[in-house]
């Protein structure tokens, strides 16, 4: 069998690492997936090749995250490898060792936000974001669309690219009113520098193949057509599956395959998905087949029964009206932004972020400075209920000289304030500095 597309696979099940022995994120998670892939003979398909992950360094991680107290204290080798797996996925595609790549790595990353005090939603570092920052550093600027098909809102990815117009983030998820992390309404659209480029599509519980594919056709693909990204990333969580123990959706392996075929991502990255026997083996086989351009029509869960997992008409109606609302906003995003941010110099938003795994509550103020000639600086002031605090100043990759100077001045002045750390994340010069506050 020969794949139509040269596909690079980074399959790293980390068979010797778990968050804890009974945690869903444990050694066993990709065991059956690996069994299924081996039995299907994936290794013998021409033009599908396996690669080992890279290992993310502190510098790779600090391009994205403001880590407290520092990277080394927060992450395990497995986190570095999972992020390194995505770095490898970018390398493969951008150096043309493969046309497409899929990183099957764990733990996941899409709940990891810019500030990191610990583990949330099984994530500490955002694998895609670390991979993308590495790729932009190595291969230059690029417009990227991240389509998050995990059932949970990709709140970490949303936060990281909130004000970045070069990274479009689209997240499908089970409505936040019914599922962790509780965020991701249609109305969260991005910061003043990238308003409308954060697209949330909250779906009702019970959404099936029909609903997901409807949203893909009527919302995601038209938006991608408008946006014209250089790269499409699928943040491929697999917990929309009908067997997932943590969620309430009706998506199937066949549905995931069709979605990947039509979405046609350059890179896919495994996120969540904890139905490790009933879903992951089949969904991953389906995604691989679709990305490789192979016939996936025979890939089904052995016990699949269409009638049982069909979405109801009511769900179908809800999905259609959500899709309509989202696409309407997409077309009007510039007008709304003008209205919203007219004559403002700085946009501020307050947030509370809960670290469910680590049991930490964080209070954050984000300040986005509006600049006529660049996306503008942003500053995060954060403290948590364990007594930690930091100020993070970020110089975006496309910052103008004025904003850059302003950031370095701010870095000096903030060191006089009452915080534990002041961090300067200069994405333009790929430089990271850390100082203590007063």
């Amino acid at each position: 069998m020969k794949a139509k597309n040269r596909l690079g696979l980074i399959l790293f099940p980390a068979f010797d690492w778990a968050i804890s022995p009974r945690h869903p994120e444990r050694e066993e998670r990709l065991l059956y997936t690996q069994d299924q892939l081996m039995e299907e003979g994936i290794e013998d398909i021409d033009r599908i090749e396996f690669f080992n992950p890279l290992i993310a360094t502190d510098q790779d991680i600090e391009r994205v995250h403001l880590a407290y107290p520092d990277v080394e204290a927060l992450v395990s080798e497995s986190h570095r490898i999972a992020a390194g797996g995505v770095m490898q996925a970018f390398d493969l595609v951008l150096s043309n060792k493969a046309e497409k790549s899929f990183a099957l790595v764990r733990p996941p990353g899409h709940h990891a936000q810019r500030v990191v005090y610990g583990d949330r939603g099984f994530c500490i570092i955002n694998n895609e974001a670390v991979g993308l920052a590495y790729a932009r550093q190595k291969y230059g600027d690029m417009r990227v669309a991240i389509v998050d098909t995990d059932c949970h809102h990709g709140d970490g990815t949303e936060d990281i690219y909130w004000n970045d117009p070069d990274t479009l983030v689209i997240s499908f998820h089970q409505d936040g009113r019914t599922l962790y992390p509780g965020t991701g309404p249609i109305s969260d659209l991005g910061g003043p520098g990238a308003y409308g480029y954060n697209v949330n599509i909250p779906l009702p519980p019970g959404t099936g193949d029909e609903g997901f594919l409807y949203v893909l056709e009527h919302v995601v693909l038209p938006i991608l057509e408008d946006y014209q990204p250089d790269l499409i990333i699928n943040s491929a969580g697999q917990d929309n599956h009908y067997t997932d123990p943590l969620t309430n959706m009706n998506f199937s392996a066949q549905g995931y395959s069709v979605l990947n075929d039509r979405l046609n991502p350059d890179i896919a990255v495994l996120e969540g998905g904890y139905s490790i026997q009933g879903a992951l083996p089949y969904v991953n086989t389906g995604i691989i087949a679709a990305m490789a351009g192979l016939d996936y029509s025979g890939i089904w869960e052995p016990d699949y029964h269409l009638g049982k997992w069909k979405q109801t008409d009511r769900v179908g109606q809800d999905v259609r009206s959500i899709a309509e609302a989202v696409i309407e906003i997409w077309h009007k995003k510039e007008e709304i932004a003008q209205e919203l941010f007219r004559s403002q110099k700085k946009v501020t938003r307050q947030r509370q972020v809960y670290y469910d795994t680590a049991g930490i509550m964080e209070h954050q103020t984000q300040e986005f400075y509006l600049c006529p000639s660049c996306p503008g600086l942003d500053v995060i002031r954060s403290k948590n209920d364990q007594g930690a605090s930091l100020v993070g100043i970020t110089v975006p990759r496309k910052a103008c000289p004025d904003c850059q100077t302003k950031a370095y001045e701010l870095f000096e002045t903030e060191q006089r304030s009452r915080v534990k750390f002041v961090l300067l994340q200069d994405q333009k010069n790929d430089r990271f500095q850390r100082a203590t506050g007063r």
């Binding site: 069998m1 790293f12 022995p21 444990r26 299924q36 080992n52 089949y282 192979l294």
Partner: protein, 563 residues
């Protein structure tokens, strides 16, 4: 005494070893296509004048199964597959003797959909008029649960005498390879059995009681009974014989080593890691069919002493084609051997003609004869060296699945080279130059393959899987599928695996000292069931490492290792 016989494509080599010494050797061109006659003739020549009761074992490396496959002189095999849901691999090459049936087993070995007996009856009807000698029956995930394969076998047991079941051939997961392996096994089954029976009868008549072992591609042997059941294990044992022969003839140093066998048409590369052979990741490929037959890792380059040398668009090219013997040995086309003769590193039968051919070609390209001869040899060294680099890069990039392995970053880095083959001595310096490593080459390697066959010991690899939730323990290679009682931990599972491997080795005549067993991989996984109870999924791979029955006394001297 041990008798080793290697039947290659052109020659049949034989050797009699007594303890650690070579007692007698034999070498002759292969006689037509009568394999039995060739082997028997060799055996008779070897044992002439010896006491037959002293023969401890007879070890054969044969091309019987290989040639049957390559020349497509195989049985008509009916293939019945139960692929269940998944990727649509094409098995159209089996033609009209291919049937799919419904029913499936999942990755845990749980039956999901049962067999429909109506479909089996229909196959029986449809095939009743077709000439079919043997069946291959393969179910996806049958190594996890062989029940369906057994059920199908039972249904057809009166219709066909030769039935191969997929799960018996390997414990590894890979359905398409299991299908090809089962097909090949069924296809050569009768040919091999006919040979084996003929050989056994001849031994009886000659009053030789020694057990017979057949060399496998993994550098180990299998007893004759085992080979009759799994003849596919005997394919492509030639490179393994050569590899084991080199291992017996070369110095050991316990480190990573590169072994190079330079022949007339090809150069074969092998690797030893900490002096232990490494294997092809899944299995060997024969006639474009990928199998689960375990094999020593080797890489073949279309470059040898008789490769065709010419210029194309101003570029000096060597191989991969071979157009016959070197000019120095009566051929018509220039070869690296001629370059070696020109440089006085080899003696040719027709040295003058060879020299002249070099001079003529050199002149056409504005070179002196010496320069061209040097260029050819240097180029050969570069080609080998580039291939070695590529092979090492690929092997060192092989996927790993644990944090420990990824962080430990164990890379294969040979620190010396073992070299055999016709032009070995003449090329030693060149290869030393291009790879920058010290070289060791044996004085006499003419019957290296027979020595390899003689000294190889039985090997077994097993893949144990235990699942405490389903209460099963399986070792497909040994046909073990048993119910687990009570709990099981990793240490007990490892111990059980070692015991089983040892038992298998002892059954095949290995003494305790010869049993070099090891656990290759072992892992245990917590499985959480719906009630959040913790069950265990345990996987252990164990083997008898391929190795030498005894170490050979180094008679006749060895060439000093360079540096």
């Amino acid at each position: 005494m041990i008798i080793g016989i290697d039947m290659g494509g052109t020659n049949i080599d034989g050797v009699v070893l007594h303890q650690d010494r070579i007692l007698k050797t034999f070498k002759q061109p292969v006689d037509g296509s009568d394999y039995f006659a060739s082997i028997w003739h060799c055996l008779e020549a070897l044992i002439e004048g010896l006491d037959r009761t002293d023969i401890k074992r007879i070890q054969l490396s044969t091309t019987i199964s290989t040639n049957a496959i390559v020349e497509n002189k195989v049985a008509q095999v009916g293939v019945i597959l139960q692929p269940g849901p998944g990727l649509n691999w094409s098995y159209d090459h089996f033609g009209e003797r291919l049937k799919y049936i419904s029913g499936s087993i999942d990755h845990r070995g749980s039956p999901v959909r049962v067999i429909d007996r109506k479909e089996l009856r229909q196959i029986r009807d449809e095939w009743s008029d077709l000439p079919i000698d043997a069946l291959a029956i393969v179910t996806k995930f049958s190594v996890r649960n062989p029940d369906f394969e057994h059920e199908i076998e039972k249904f057809f047991s009166n219709d066909y005498p030769d039935i191969t079941l997929g799960h018996r051939l390997s414990g590894k997961l890979n359905f398409p390879r299991r299908v090809e392996t089962a097909y090949l096994n069924a296809a050569v089954s009768r040919t091999f059995r006919t040979f084996a029976e003929q050989f056994q009868q001849a031994l009886e008549q000659a009053d030789i009681q020694a057990p017979v072992y057949i060399l496998k591609a993994d550098g180990g042997t299998i007893d004759l009974e085992g080979a009759i059941e799994k003849p596919v294990e005997t394919i492509l044992s030639g490179p393994a014989a050569s590899f084991m022969g080199m291992k017996a003839l070369l110095h050991e140093n316990g480190n990573d080593r590169l072994l190079i066998d330079i022949g007339g048409t090809t150069t074969d590369l092998f690797l030893l890691v900490d002096d232990v052979p490494i294997f092809e990741p899944l299995g060997i490929t024969i006639n474009q069919r990928k199998t689960l037959v375990r094999a020593i890792f080797s890489h073949s380059i279309g470059l040898g002493g008789d490769s065709y040398v010419r210029f194309e668009e101003g570029q000096l090219l060597i191989g991969p084609e071979r157009k016959g013997h070197a000019i120095a040995f009566g051929g018509k086309h220039l070869t690296p051997t001629d370059a070696l003769v020109y440089l006085d590193r080899l003696k040719g039968e027709r040295g003058d003609e060879s020299r002249e051919a070099i001079e003529v070609l050199a002149k056409e390209h504005g070179l002196s004869g010496h320069e061209l001869a040097e260029n050819i040899i240097t180029k050969m060294g570069e080609m080998i060296s580039n291939t070695v680099d590529a092979v090492l890069e690929k092997l060192n990039g092989s996927p790993v699945y644990t944090v420990r392995e990824l962080m430990s970053d164990r890379t294969i880095k040979p620190d010396s080279i073992g070299l055999v083959g016709g032009p070995a001595e003449a090329l030693a310096e060149t290869i030393h130059q291009s790879l920058g490593l010290p070289i060791d080459y044996p004085a006499d390697f003419a019957i290296a393959n027979a020595i390899g066959a003689a000294l190889a010991k039985p090997t077994v690899e097993i893949n144990l899987l235990a699942d405490t939730e389903r209460n099963i323990l399986s070792v497909p290679e040994l046909g073990i599928y048993q119910t687990l009682r009570g709990s099981l931990d990793l240490a007990t599972a490892k111990q059980f695996a070692m015991e089983q491997v040892k038992l298998a080795g002892q059954t095949m005549g290995l003494s305790k000292e010869q049993l070099d067993t090891e656990i290759v991989e072992a892992s245990i996984f917590n499985m959480l069931n719906d009630d959040y109870g913790v069950e265990k999924n345990i996987r252990v791979r164990a083997q008898i490492r391929p190795g030498l029955l005894t170490h050979l006394q180094r008679e006749g001297g060895y060439n000093e290792s360079k540096e």
